[in-house]
């Protein structure tokens, strides 16, 4: 059951006042503009035991995504497609407010929104991941571990997932005598497009990108918009406030433009296509 609660991330009163005053003056506490994303860096192949991996630092938020390739049955209704599953855990290392245990509703939402961006954009060509049609397909597990949380885990986790997929080495498997055999060779993951999510929050009447924890502590509503090369592919409005239709349309346009910038940087960091 979903339960409303005051934010457990308490921004001290004074600090919050400062933030709201800064916002009223068109600024953010860390000096960024409302449409400015924090500096970020991506390192790939950080986990050698994984078939692909990436560590993303977006400001002080840090996420590692690791890919494991297995084989299994296809999903029902998707008999001729490989399976791709994105999961996430916000590790208790990440903040004083995380309890260890099964994923809570916020973490479930995090994983599902990231999953949706990858799935709906058709980033990975799942048609290429079939070994025996209807029976045996590649199963791609993308697991994300959030090591440190300082806001906007949606985008940090999404970039880690996308970067791990772009840099993954897919083991080439073959059927021999009814058994799956690993040939020992690899090929790149079959990639069709690169989905990029952009998250904004509304505080009062101001919409700003890439919030830090203390901004999230004061937000009224949140929106995560994912674009691929082709256009919009996923969106999630979150939190207990609301947006006007115009605010959403404006945020969508911003997400599309910023998405192109980020996409270029992700390609560069992951050396994708080079």
């Amino acid at each position: 059951m979903s339960t409303s609660k005051r934010s457990t991330i308490i921004v001290e009163h004074l600090r919050k006042q400062q933030m709201l005053e800064a916002i009223a003056n068109g600024k953010r506490l860390d000096g960024r503009g409302f449409d400015e994303i924090r500096p970020f860096e991506i390192e790939i192949d950080v986990i050698k035991k994984a078939n692909g991996s990436a560590r993303v630092k977006l400001g002080d938020s840090e996420v590692i995504a690791g890919i494991k390739v297995e084989t299994g049955e296809p999903f029902e209704g998707l008999e001729n497609k490989g399976a791709l599953i994105v999961s996430a855990e916000v590790l208790p290392t990440a903040s004083p407010h995380i309890e260890p245990g099964p994923p809570d509703e916020e973490t479930v939402e995090l994983a599902r929104v990231v999953d949706r961006g990858v799935r709906e954009s058709e980033m990975v060509d799942l048609d290429e991941l079939v070994l025996v049609p209807g029976k045996i397909v590649y199963t791609i597990f993308v697991d994300c571990s959030v090591i440190n949380a300082d806001g906007n885990l949606f985008d940090a986790t999404s970039y880690a997932t996308v970067s791990a997929l772009l840099s993954a080495k897919l083991p080439i498997l073959e059927m021999q005598d009814g058994k799956v055999v690993d040939t020992g060779k690899t090929k790149p993951m079959p990639i069709k497009t690169i989905p990029i999510s952009i998250t904004a929050v509304k505080i009062g009447d101001v919409v700003m990108l890439d919030p830090v924890t203390e901004e999230e502590g004061s937000m009224d509503a949140r929106i995560t918009i994912t674009t691929s090369d082709e256009g919009f592919c996923a969106l999630q409005k979150g939190y207990t406030g609301s947006f006007t239709v115009d605010q959403i349309k404006k945020a969508a346009e911003t997400a599309r433009i910023k998405g192109q910038e980020i996409r270029a940087k992700v390609k560069e960091f992951t050396k994708y296509g080079s």
């Binding site: 059951m1 949706r116 919009f232 996923a234 969106l235």
Partner: protein
Amino acid sequence: MTQTRNLIDENGKRTDGRTIDEMRPVKITVGTVKNADGSAFVEFGKNKIVAAVYGPREVHPKHLAQPDRCVLRCRYHMSPFSTDTRKNPAPSRREVEISKVMRESLEPALMLEDYPRAAIDVFVEVLQSDGGSRCAGITAAAVALADAGINMRDIVSACAAGKVDDKIVLDINDTEDKEGGADMPVAYMPRLNQVTLMQLDGNLSPDQFNECLDKAIEGCKAVAEIQKAALMQKYFGNETEVKEEQ
């Protein structure tokens, strides 16, 4: 989503015979659950959904109570027989997420500060599912909250739009959801002109995005009229069944 067959025929008719701007039949009955403080039964296409509200009432355990406002709790759940293949009764990750976005879509409409230290529980049970069950669930929950007499700033009305055969259509059904190009569920407060739920699955160009959002909002407004009529009927009564078949 990859589309494999035509879902709109040469006459502009969809798989269930509707035009692209036509909503499925919607029927709302208020007060169907005897024990609840407020309730509604919604049929939206083939969706059959019960919403029941209990509260405002004491919070258990007590430390979850908030000194200056009411706690809102929400569960979206599907009966095992509601889906094409039997659904495991344990809550899926999908149900956990929908419970959360449903709660967040209702909360902006509620004057929770009017009920400090209390809780309001909203239970939405999908007895039969069709495309758009989360929208139908929000629609039912908002009526049940009104029926429970909870102070509200506005009604919350929900409807999806989507893309089928590269056309933007209103209120997509199960087949269109599975085979079509995009699904955009939206919840909306019509008087305050605020979007309280919005999601997107699928691919839309920038123009399609705006068209789809506008069409969903129109759907929400139509749903709001049906909600209003259902509540009116319960509280002021009339003989005609509140039924919308566009």
